[in-house]
Amino acid sequence: MIKKIILTLLLLFSVLNANDSLTLKLYEKVLTSIFHSQSIKVFVDSDTREILQQSNRFEIVDTCDKSVVVLVGKFSKLSEICKDKPLFSTDYRSFKHTPNSFGAYYWRKGRPQLTFKRRTLEKYHLSLPLALEKYVYE
């Protein structure tokens, strides 16, 4: 019985970890290819912080003015300074309704979704690598 519980826990853990590391890799790939930097200064909310902490490609900063990019779920609570920064969302609606949001990574029907906004990218003079061009929908 105990064995079974331990096994289930282990499995669950590894699944969670795998998802996290998958997400982290995606962030690394997407953000480094857009911002062309070895260590990207990023302002995050608590959800995303946990994931990004595990990588040395990101430098997590306390305030938005120090950051190059802001990576959060909801933008409504952000200060005006933050809202001026290039925003990367983890929520589709925030991404859709916030003009400064250039991209988003979120889950739909259990499937991960990546999307970009052409207008916002151009506004911040950000260019996408060719591999990501196909994720530009609007």
Binding site: V15, D91, K96, R108, K109, G110, R111, Q113, T115
Partner: protein, 495 residues
């Protein structure tokens, strides 16, 4: 009864073989059967699920088609209210089992999928109208468009717990949209895992019976080996016993041969003894014959032999020759075990003896007296007794002549003493010296060197009296000389 026979014969082991084999093959068969059935159950379960979901989605497809007469995208774009209505319908389907129910189509401009309707209850996961969508395993989704038929697949990345069912909404033989349902296979997986557990149990049983089988075979092998060595040993012992019997038989045969030889030898010895006895008894008559013939010769040389004398001397010789012949007859029967006894008296026997011996003794100037006081019947071998008396008289004569006794005599006396009938032969030669009295009855003991004595006379006499006649022969000395005494039992009248 039959069982115990089998057990005894050691054939019980075959029963175990059979049992073990049955268990083994039985469990293998059951396992195989079970595997097959469990596969079928899985398949049937999946099929029934698919069948059910296909019914639902085709109903839904009809419903949506009917609600959007101007084309799905076009109608829904203009009518937010209808969208809401239809999404509510989709929402009704959502349960624990049917997690996501939504409708997508392929954007004709950029060939990407986009949401048209979403049955999500959770606002966070609720997609917007025309929101772009990148499903995993895109090839299946495209396949719906090309094949215009429902497609389903297990999403490997979702740990195979979910099956995605894609149902096309076909308008004018064209796929307008896809109804997608993600439904849980947990139920199925529960069944599968239960079946798996059973399978494991069966494998365990099969392994167990296999090991039992192997153990039984192993032990029976050992047992067989043991029995074989036992049988071998038994055979060896049997063989040994058989050869032993043979050996015993051979030895017994050898022994019998030896016995025969001994018998033969003893017969020869007896014959020898008989011949010595005959020879012993012949001496006296032979010397008498020889003396008589010498007398005839002497008288003839002197021309003193008249007719009367010749006849007389010839008769004498004839008598002695007759005696020689009777002696042979007497001893011929000597060693026969069942020879016939006769009824007689001492007087009769003595009469016979005197016929032979009286004259020669008187010729030697030995006085011969008889005191016969016994006329009782004895049941014995008279010829043998006769020879004994002859021996005793001859011995007395020998010693009397040797010692040149004055007025020598030999006395025969018979009388009855209690139940015994006694015959005594006595002389006046001074008796047997005490130092040899113990030895005189032994064979080949003789003091007569001059006369060349054989020492057989008394031995023979004792044998006859003791062994044949069941009587007694003894010696004693009286004031004049030796007294030899024969004791025989009086006959007991039975008939």
């Amino acid at each position: 009864m039959y069982m115990s026979k089998i057990v005894k014969s050691g054939r019980i082991i075959y029963f175990f073989y059979l049992l073990a084999l049955t268990v083994l093959f039985g469990s293998l068969y059951i396992y195989n059967e079970f595997e097959r059935t469990s596969q079928e159950i899985k398949k049937l379960n999946l099929q029934s699920n698919i069948h059910y979901i296909d019914n639902i989605t085709s109903n839904m497809a009809h419903h949506i088609k009917n609600a959007t007469p101007k084309g799905i995208v076009k109608t829904l774009k203009d009518n937010a209210h209808l969208r809401e209505e239809l999404e509510k319908d989709l929402q009704l389907l959502i349960t624990k089992k049917y997690r996501y129910v939504y409708v997508v189509d392929k954007n004709k401009n950029n060939r990407n999928f986009r949401f048209l309707l979403d049955g999500a209850k959770n606002a966070a996961d609720k997609s917007d109208f025309l929101e772009s969508y990148v499903p995993l395993n895109l090839q299946y989704w495209n396949e719906v468009y090309t094949r215009k038929k429902a497609v389903y697949y297990k999403d490997k990345s979702l740990k195979a717990l979910w099956l995605t069912y894609l149902k096309p909404i076909i308008v004018d033989n064209k796929v307008e949209a896809i109804i997608a349902i993600d439904f849980s296979l947990q139920e199925q997986n529960l069944i599968t895992s239960a079946l798996k557990k059973l399978t494991q149990t069966f494998i365990l049983i099969a392994l167990f019976s296999l090991s039992v089988f192997i153990i039984i075979i192993f032990f029976s092998y050992i047992d067989r080996k043991r029995i074989r060595t036992l049988q071998f040993q038994t055979k060896e012992i049997q063989h040994f016993n058989e050869t032993l019997q043979e050996k015993v038989n051979v030895e017994v045969a050898k022994n019998r041969e030896k016995d025969n030889m001994l018998l033969h030898q003893s017969k020869l010895a007896q014959m020898g003894e008989m011949i010595s006895m005959i020879a012993h008894q012949w001496r006296q008559p032979l010397s008498a014959i020889s003396a008589t013939s010498s007398a005839i010769k002497l008288k003839a040389q002197r021309n003193k032999l008249d007719k009367e004398q010749t006849i007389q001397l010839a008769n004498k010789i004839a008598n002695y020759a007759q005696h020689l012949s009777t002696t042979i007859n007497d001893f011929r029967e000597f060693f026969k075990p069942n020879k016939e006894k006769l009824e007689t008296t001492y007087t009769n026997i003595i009469e016979d003896v005197l016929k032979i011996i009286q004259e020669p003794i008187q010729n030697k100037a030995i006085k011969f007296t008889q005191e016969l006081h016994c006329e009782e019947k004895i049941f014995t071998y008279p010829n043998e007794i006769k020879q004994v008396i002859l021996n005793l008289i001859k011995n007395a004569e020998d010693v009397l002549l040797e010692k040149q006794i004055q007025n020598p005599y030999i006395k025969l006396k018979t009388f009855k003493e209690a139940e015994y009938l006694i015959l005594e032969v006595s002389d006046n030669a001074g008796g047997v010296p005490t130092e040899i009295v113990d030895k005189i009855f032994e064979p080949y003991f003789s003091t007569k060197t001059k006369k060349d004595g054989t020492g057989l006379g008394l031995y023979m006499s004792k044998t006859i009296i003791h062994e044949h006649c069941k009587g007694k022969l003894s010696v004693s000395n009286d004031e004049n000389g030796a007294v030899f005494r024969i004791e025989l039992q009086e006959i007991k009248r039975k008939v």
